[in-house]
């Protein structure tokens, strides 16, 4: 697909996110907007969403940072997994679109949202492919604050042990978490070196540039190691007053802010 087309899709997804969070009066716009381009690159360009002979999806995706559910649902909707009109029911009592992803939702393989758990699940999926000698890649999206969870590093060692080169993880490196800058909250730094020391093939890219994201994914094809793409992103990307503002981690825009955000995304 042409890059202009992908960027247009990403803008539409961002509008959906803002609408969903505004309608729900709750949710996590900052971290959903930051990783929108990664999900668009995956679902609209790189992932093979077909099924193998056992009904397993050829390429799989695990949203470990489950609080970015709004972008996940919007992207799944853009691929026909969820009716678009259902997005406005997000987080409401009579809706199946729970606050964090549930695998009762079409297209979602595993529930997530309790941070730190998704990479292990992705490992298991990649291991299953290895055992059966099956094609396909397992993608996993991690938050940068999320890697403060010890289980992430447990999973890193497992992925290295089993040489899961069919695993491609993204780190949504927007630099902010609820209590502030990730460097201040738990001194999360030297991320590149950390993953390298754990035996991973590490790349960095502009995580809000779909072309760069796609190029980094292409670079993993000949990798012999588990792959991590440190995607430098902007929290709240696309809505000027949300960009790089930690306060927009888990807050819904009021009516005025909503109108302003939508006009910026039109």
């Amino acid at each position: 697909m042409e890059i202009e087309e992908l960027n247009k899709i990403a803008k539409g997804i961002r509008r959906d996110i803002v609408e969903m969070v505004h309608e729900a009066k709750s949710g996590h716009p900052g971290g959903a907007l930051s990783c929108t381009d990664i999900l668009v690159a995956l679902y609209h360009e790189k992932m093979n969403l077909g099924l193998d002979e056992n009904g397993n999806r050829i390429d799989k995706f695990v949203l470990s940072k489950g609080h970015a559910s709004a972008v996940y649902y919007a992207v799944l909707s853009s691929k026909g997994f969820i009716p678009h009109e259902d997005l406005k029911t997000f987080r409401k009592i009579d809706s199946y679109l729970e606050g964090h992803p549930s695998n009762k939702i079409n297209g979602v393989d595993v529930s997530s949202g309790s941070l730190g758990q998704g990479l292990s699940v992705a490992n298991g999926m990649a291991l299953a492919k290895k055992i059966d000698n099956k094609e396909g890649v397992v993608y996993c999206l991690l938050g940068d604050g999320e890697i403060e969870e010890g289980q992430i590093w447990e999973a890193c060692m497992t992925a290295n042990k089993y040489k899961l080169n069919n695993l491609v993880a993204f780190l949504d490196y927007n630099g902010l978490q609820i209590d502030g800058n990730i460097k201040d909250v738990k001194s999360v730094d030297k991320i590149h070196e950390k993953f390298e020391a754990f035996g991973w093939y590490v790349q960095e890219c502009d995580g809000n540039d779909i072309e760069q994201i796609c190029e980094a994914i292409d670079n993993t094809k000949n990798s012999t190691k588990p792959n991590i793409i440190i995607a430098h992103t902007i929290k709240g990307k696309g809505v000027s007053f949300m960009e790089n503002m930690v306060g927009w981690h888990g807050k819904a825009p009021n009516d005025e802010e909503y109108e302003k955000a939508i006009s910026e995304l039109s």
Binding site: S111, S120, M125
Partner: protein, 304 residues
């Protein structure tokens, strides 16, 4: 005589020809007996090292890809350390995974309280939609695990460290949600599961010699529990006693009490670990220390 953990290892080997079977461990394969499977099918034995949270997550990823998955570590580290991974990843996602936790209860013996999990039944039972099973001997372990192959969803299977007496025969039947009743005495019912079933059966024999006729109910399916049998026994027998290698808080005694409370209010005497940690020692001495003995059960019937 066999331990339920070794029966588990033997069961895994018996189904190993099925290429979909994958077994996981967290550096305890020698102890959990998954090493028996590893010896025969090394390519389908995954050892994630000492990382139980990762164990549960990896097991779920394999199961979500259609594998028949058995994951093992000690009960303390499965139900305790990885509780939230079990709750949020395995059970909330309704993953078809078998979590086989060995070394449950004070039966662990010499390793002492840090390794004697007496809270796992409570922790697993409270998770919505979880299935919790606890076989009592060699045959019941193999038969219950066989049932698990055909029962979709997350399951916690509680296994023990030490050899226990053979109770069942190849004709015995097990089903998830069921129980097995020994005898039809009306003087009382002894409810048990896991290693306390054989203790209860010994008590039943001793009581018979004194002219007291009780029945023993093996509640191997802790969740879903066989409510009908609990109520039937409450109606048909005089005294009710439960015995378990687990805390009396949140264990089978609590589960039975809940059923009785709602359906047929009646007193239940609970034998178990009484709101305390375990104790190092030879397991039989530890059982004696905590009153997990036939003599203690018999004494409950003398008091009346």
């Amino acid at each position: 005589m066999n331990s339920t953990r070794k029966a588990y290892g033997e069961f895994l080997v018996s189904i190993g020809d099925n290429k979909d079977v994958v077994v996981l461990d967290a550096d305890l394969a020698e102890a959990t007996k998954t090493n028996m499977f590893k010896k025969e099918y090394p390519q389908r034995h995954i050892d994630v090292g000492i990382s139980e949270a990762d164990l549960v997550g990896t097991a779920c990823g394999l199961a979500l890809s259609g594998k028949t998955v058995f994951a093992s570590t000690f009960a303390m580290f499965m139900a305790g350390r990885a509780f939230e991974q079990i709750r949020n990843t395995a059970v909330y996602s309704h993953v078809n995974v078998n979590l086989c936790a060995t070394h449950a209860g004070v039966m662990v013996g010499e390793d002492g309280p840090t390794h004697q999990c007496v809270e796992d039944v409570a922790l697993m039972n409270v998770i919505p939609t979880m299935t919790v099973l606890s076989p009592a001997d060699d045959i019941s372990t193999k038969k219950i695990l066989f049932e698990c192959l055909h029962y979709e969803g997350p399951k916690y299977i509680r296994l023990g460290r030490s050899d226990v007496e053979d109770i069942y025969t190849q004709d015995s039947i097990f089903k998830i949600g069921g129980s097995n009743t020994f005898g039809d005495g009306t003087d009382g019912t002894i409810f048990a599961y896991g290693p306390t079933v054989s203790i209860a059966l010994n008590a039943k024999k001793e009581l018979e010699e004194k002219g007291v006729y009780v029945r023993v109910v093996d509640l191997y399916s802790i969740k879903p529990v066989d409510r009908d049998t609990i109520i039937k026994c409450a109606k048909e027998t005089d005294k009710l006693v439960s015995i378990e290698d687990h805390s009396i808080i949140g264990g089978i005694g609590s589960i039975i009490s809940n059923v009785l409370c709602e359906e047929y209010p009646k007193k239940l005497e609970k034998i178990g670990i009484n709101d305390t940690f375990g104790k190092s020692g030879n397991w039989k001495e530890v059982y004696k220390y905590f009153g997990l003995t036939a003599e203690n059960i018999v004494s409950k019937f003398k008091e009346d």
